[in-house]
Symmetry: C2
């Protein structure tokens, strides 16, 4: 998927709606990917993102060791793959190969972009004060990529217990809000 | 709106999709409400929610002083009121009166429920370690209310600059995920 650079000031508009993410990490030559919905914006620019990565996940160790990851945003056509990624562990499986996801080199971090996702955000860990207690990492987005052809992304939003809301239509208001 | 108690174990399914919230506070007999989208789940049960409340907001002072708030979830029919609430300050305006929102007493906290919202989560602040640096509060949901008639809530999801995605249809997968 042809992606171009997205200005960092626009990143919040991708994450604020609450989409399911595919988070990639890489360590010692092995990349991994996990599904994740527990994230929130914490600052506009530079964009900061709070993110839960459970200590039960294989990705946790890689994130702690490398302090880098990529937040990739899938759309509804990837639903089966998102569910697949979310229900097995990278300890036993090469999830890229198993689910037909294509890793591409990132510009600023060691973790890969996922080619099939319409947007990818390269991140570094900048605060771990809540890591031990909550598995909560504060990430800074250092480089952002988007497929500019996708104007109204049909993102996935997990409602719990395997139910996914698919993003509906967008209403433009005249609200003077950021 | 007739709401019933929602088990706390189900709360994450309301917030994980990333809806815009109307956050209420109350201090010295004065209630206030603000619009908010920067939140994320941090634990299933008891439900913990990370939440940004900017120091520029009138609600910040009330939250710091009382350590209580209610997260109310509006649906698309409240869009105009959400935009109104999000673009003026409680320092100068009684937003409940101005926008036709009805405060109802909560069970466990001093901040009010908003009757017109389909769900309301009574919260207490449990961690302020990231408050000074990021305006980030960790909240525990202590009581949850929902209008059980709303099966597929048409929640609002802010895409930035006054654009709101309205929740689309829900797909049920057989994924063994929580």
């Amino acid at each position: 998927m042809a992606k171009k650079i997205l200005p960092l000031s626009r990143v919040y508009g991708l994450l604020e709606p609450g989409p399911v993410l595919l988070v990639t990490t890489a360590r010692k030559g092995h990349a991994n990917v996990m599904a994740q919905s527990w994230h929130c914006m914490m600052e506009f620019e530079p964009p900061l993102v709070g993110c839960l990565i459970s200590g039960r996940n294989h990705s946790f160790d890689a994130l702690v060791a490398t302090r880098e990851c990529v937040l990739n945003i899938p759309t509804a056509k990837l639903l089966d793959r998102v569910v697949g990624v979310g229900t097995c562990s990278g300890r036993r499986v090469d999830k890229f190969a198993k689910f037909g996801l294509t890793p591409k080199p990132a510009a600023a971090v060691g973790a890969p972009l996922i080619d099939e996702c319409y947007a990818s955000l390269e991140c570094r860990v900048v605060d771990t004060r809540l890591m031990n207690r909550y598995n909560f990492f504060v990430l800074e987005v250092v480089k952002a990529w988007i497929d500019a052809a996708v104007k109204e992304p049909r993102t996935l939003h997990h409602r719990g217990r395997g139910r996914f809301m698919v993003a509906g239509k967008t209403i433009r208001t005249r609200a003077k809000v950021k």
